[in-house]
Symmetry: C2
Subunit: 201 residues, 2 copies
């Protein structure tokens, strides 16, 4: 998708397309190059639109690396352990594209707005794909256990954060654990253990 030299494309002409159809918010894993020369993998929610936007919350490595390098690799994964590690832990790799990526887009990231919500600073970014690849496709399936892991990463990341009620978050986490117990497979169980390891749950 990079056959057109960038210089030949007009301002409103896209160099590459997103490798998936985006609607609402789609959770991804983004890798950004850190000052230590390694790629930092973190969860990033993509807001559909033209352009696609994303928010970083707090002074994260993704935010700092976006500022330093102005780019990253947005990846679509369906492994709950990889997603959990990216969402909740310091997760660094030597190469920008994870082996678990079913598709990826190299994007330029440009800061367009900053703000503060409940004491947490956020920064909003536009993401423009400059290269993208679909690695593999599957029949999408509805997996409540997988979804419960994703929700557990969200709830766990809010524990101890101003503006969130601790007991509500813990009730939700208990519910997500019961869903994983009933509907999850081995990777979801492993992922839920990682949520516990990486958080104050």
């Amino acid at each position: 998708m990079t056959d057109d030299p960038a210089g030949a494309a007009g301002d409103d002409e896209r160099v590459a397309d997103w490798p998936v159809a985006l609607s609402g918010v789609t959770e991804s894993v983004v890798t950004t190059l850190g000052p230590n020369g390694r790629w930092n993998a973190a969860a990033l929610g993509l807001f559909a639109g033209d352009p696609v936007t994303a928010r970083t919350w707090g002074n994260t490595r993704t935010k700092r690396n976006f500022h330093r390098r102005g780019e990253g690799y947005v990846q679509f994964v369906d492994d709950p352990v990889v997603f959990t590690d990216a969402a909740l832990s310091r997760y660094e790799v030597d190469e920008p594209i994870l082996g678990e990526a079913n598709a990826w887009a190299r994007v330029t990231a440009e800061s367009i707005e900053t703000g503060t919500d409940d004491g947490t600073e956020w920064e909003q970014w536009t993401l423009e794909p400059v290269d993208s690849t679909v690695v593999r496709t599957e029949v999408p399936t509805i997996d409540r256990g997988f979804a419960a892991v994703v929700e557990a990463t969200v709830a766990a990341s809010r524990l101890g954060v101003d503006g969130y009620d601790e007991s509500t978050l813990r009730d939700r986490l208990a519910h997500y654990a019961s869903v994983v117990d009933r509907a999850g497979g081995p990777r979801e169980r492993e992922a839920l253990e990682r949520v516990r390891e990486h958080s104050n749950w």
Copy 2:
């Protein structure tokens, strides 16, 4: 996948394969032929294993049609409105395979156990594919809004059912609605409206 005549297959030889990899519980939509000559679409959770099993809860059309016909069409959809209609409403179609099915398996259904949980009778079935097709594949994406719709159908279906706390269910529904509001696309919003229409929420 039906090149082998059924008569040539041994007891432990499968006539057809599941069109997706199953792990834990995977939510599907099953169509079963009713006494009115129409196909009834309903949500059905598939428990991975050999054989794959599923449970019907209460005296549903799926249960009655499985008893009458001994078979159905298990389908994998990723449209939240279709899933919601199947999960919560009487949803009948003229043909067994939905246009929204990304993959399907025609299965034989055999009752293996019955029981009662909190006053609700259940029946457990083994499902053996006899024919299956992958219609289309995609890059799977993580959509919290879609997952929230699925969870809302589960919670809504339990409103007024013995053994479930009404206020806990309503708290969860409010949370799922907030996730759809924040992360859902147009189809998730429409599906959430259907959840309200089809239930006492």
